[in-house]
């Protein structure tokens, strides 16, 4: 009896052993690309992550701040989610079907998922959450839900969502629709309850947000950490001092200004990934003299993007040429050399357009974003070099949103458009009737292409459409597309497992301390 037990144990052990070997091999292989040393994930520990901004509210259906999203990705989940490449993966729904015409989506709910309050997730929660998002009284900040015509529960595990018309980016936008339990709604803004790998512990405004491992999390093997604290430190130098002192273990989206400190310290490391952010200098096409495409092209030729990346981002960024980040490689068209730096050509274009002496122009910069301000200071100098008298004006973020973004009262401005998963969402903002088309770009062919793209599900066709859209933006010189800044993460050497996503999130699930 005893012998049998022992041999069984041995056999199990050996199987476990081989699995472990395989796992280490995989880790070695996969981590090779990132240049990281492989190590066995270790369970437990308390990770402190520095974040620059205060969350606004933990009600996932009302939150708008990126600062909230980066934290609550670990608390809330939707029916589906995305992987590190931005591809759609199952989450609370284990599978789904899409009808031929692209209007009917049927999701099958995953079994055995629990909320942080201990209750089992049911289809009623899914319906409740989606209904809450659809309800105008909630004031959900995104508008895709208006396209839903019907929600129907087929049985106790399948829900059917019918759209009014085909909408290709539906899945990628549904990934943000958090499923929450109805009983927690009254206090969800300050006491979040979700199904994510970490459950909420406390939020001390201006100080930190603390999360703890959710032991009944449905994904096996993760998370590794016991506790995660998101410490709010607005100033990058202070965050860096804290990292060096060991009071903080990781700084995501590190300011490139302090990256040199990581290189100077031997117990810190710097990881880099694409940010999926389009930094651009927008041009108000309704303002004279920017109605003339030659002038917009002149401005494009006058700007040395390589120097901007070096000067404003300390070299941490990739040059772009249209409104898409190279991180979205499925749809990306490389137009970064469409307007090479050529001040002579810029002057010639200015002269042929009737402005040999240049013209005065105001460049509005959002004061809260150091990268955009720094870029703007350099851009102004470059414009002055070709004779355009650029004057800088700094505006508060609130004023920027109101005056420049909503009322379109500006000439030139520098801003960053954050990552989206679907090319439609990225490029839709240039259609003539888009509510926030603040460039005032109006282009028949472009509008038609975007419209067409919504209804097509064939990948090759979609690629062709969105690549053409990017070309139009470049040819028309709608803006100066500058760079996709790198996402820098400074970490202490002992921290591993960080993953980069094309969205503004911090995924702590796979993070662990090395032995």
């Amino acid at each position: 009896m005893r012998d049998r037990q022992r041999s069984l144990a041995r056999r199990l052990l050996s199987r476990k052993y081989w699995r472990l070997v395989a796992m280490v091999c995989c880790l070695l292989l996969s981590s090779h690309g990132f240049g990281l040393a492989a190590a066995t994930p270790q369970s437990g520990g308390h990770l402190v992550v520095a974040v620059p901004l205060e969350p606004d509210t933990f009600d996932p259906h009302k939150a708008v701040a990126a600062a909230t999203k980066e934290i609550d990705f670990n608390i809330y989940q939707g029916l589906i989610s995305y992987d590190t490449d931005g591809g759609i993966i199952p989450c609370l729904a284990e599978s789904w079907d899409i009808s031929e015409d692209g209007t009917v989506y049927t999701f099958k709910l995953r079994k055995g998922v629990r909320f942080h309050n201990g209750r089992k997730l049911t289809l009623d929660d899914v319906r409740f959450s989606l209904e809450r998002i659809r309800d105008d009284a909630t004031g959900y900040p995104l508008t895709w839900h208006k396209n839903i015509s019907e929600l129907a529960m087929l049985d106790d595990s399948r829900i059917r969502i019918t759209l009014k018309e085909p909408y290709a980016p539906f899945l990628s936008e549904l990934a943000d629709a958090a499923i929450i339990p109805e009983e927690a709604v009254a206090t969800i803004a300050t006491q979040p309850v979700g199904t994510g790998p970490f459950k909420f512990v406390e939020w001390m405004t201006g100080q930190h947000v603390k999360l703890a491992r959710f032991d009944e999390y449905w994904e096996k093997g993760v998370p590794y950490l016991d506790l995660v604290t998101f410490k709010i430190i607005p100033d990058p130098s202070t965050a860096m001092l804290n990292l060096k002192a060991g009071a903080v273990h990781a700084i995501p989206r590190l300011s490139p200004d302090v990256a040199w400190e990581v290189e100077a310290a031997h117990d810190l490391k710097l990881l880099q990934g694409p940010m999926n952010l389009v930094q651009l200098m927008a041009i108000n096409l309704d303002r004279e003299p920017f109605t003339d495409v030659r002038l917009r092209q002149a401005i494009n030729y006058a700007i040395d993007k390589d120097l901007l990346i070096e000067g404003a981002a300390w070299g941490f960024g990739s040059k772009i040429g249209s409104n898409m980040s190279p991180g979205m490689d499925t749809y990306y068209a490389d137009l970064s050399e469409h307007y090479p730096y050529d001040p002579v050509k810029a002057r010639t274009l200015l002269a042929t357009a009737g402005y040999p002496e240049g013209f005065p122009v105001t460049l509005s910069l959002p004061a809260a974003y150091d990268l955009h301000v720094k870029t703007g200071e350099m851009v102004a100098a470059m414009l002055q070099d070709v004779g355009i008298q650029a004057k800088i004006e700094l505006v508060e973020w609130g004023t920027w949103l109101d005056r420049i973004y909503a009322k379109r009262d500006y000439e030139l401005t520098i801003v960053g458009f954050t990552g989206k998963l679907d090319p439609h969402t990225v490029l839709n903002r240039y259609t003539s009737d888009y509510a926030r088309n603040f460039s005032n770009f109006r282009h028949k062919e472009y509008d038609n292409l975007i419209e067409e793209g919504l209804k097509i599900t064939d990948l090759a066709q979609r690629q062709a459409i969105y690549r053409r859209c990017q070309e139009i933006l470049a040819e028309e010189a709608v803006a100066v597309y500058i760079m996709d800044p790198n996402d820098l993460v400074a970490m202490r050497n002992e921290v591993s497992g960080w993953r980069f996503y094309p969205k503004y999130v911090d995924d702590i699930r796979y993070v662990y301390f090395e032995k």
Partner: protein, 296 residues
Amino acid sequence: MAVVWREKQLAAEGREREHLWQFKPVKLKGGGLSIWLGALLVLPVLVLALASWMGLAPLPNAMDIRARLVPPSAAHWLGTDHFGRDVLGRIAYGSRVALQVGLGSTLLAALAGVALGAWAGYKGGWWDEVIMRMIDGLMAFPGILLAIMLVSVLGTGVSNTILAIGLANLPLFARITRGVFLAGRSALYVEAANALGAKHGHIIRRHILPNTIGPLVVQATITFSTAVLTEASLSYLGLGIQPPDASWGRMLKEAQPYMGKALWLVLAPGLAIFLVVTALNLLGDGLRDRLDPHTR
């Protein structure tokens, strides 16, 4: 230093009386040494401002990304910043801004404050009550807070900074002027002049205004120094002078990420602020001794 001098002088004279509220530097015609020392310290800043204005200082905004964070050298006496801009040139431009803001806001505060205070003090009664309660209300907000509030309404930049700091410093001028006017109104010689049928304007010009000059000049010096400090603080917070204009406070803020490897970036604007404020404090002390009869 002035104080050291003073102590020795006093010891030599065998006198031991010290003033209650401050060290009184030796009186070469009353506060002379402080005035001279203050003037001496403020001189380099004036020279820099003048050099910048006349285009003799290095260009403050010429960028050279390849030569950034270069330590002080023969080519760049105070080194370069994160854009490769010459720090000396920026300090020089910054002194222009500091003097501009200091002078502008002091003048604004003085003119508006004196006008309000004079009106309140001369008219008395309801005028006095209303104006002074408004002034009290303004004084409830500490200077920097009021300046922050005003700048966030008016917007940033040199002229709005001047306006905000000027308004924030107006109450003290109003109070001083009102005090002198109140005292003047009841003074015998004014009553006499009144009785003789002299015009209001004449009375104010001849009999009351001269008395306000001393305290106002002292207050102006103090306000000047406060204004320079407030401008530096506002710009440090990102609410004052805006790029590409160089400002000492903003230079400090911009230098902070690199202070571990480029100390000169912090020290240069820091010393500039320190120098100007010390100089103005000394000037203020000296002028008080010479002009303000009340504290003598």
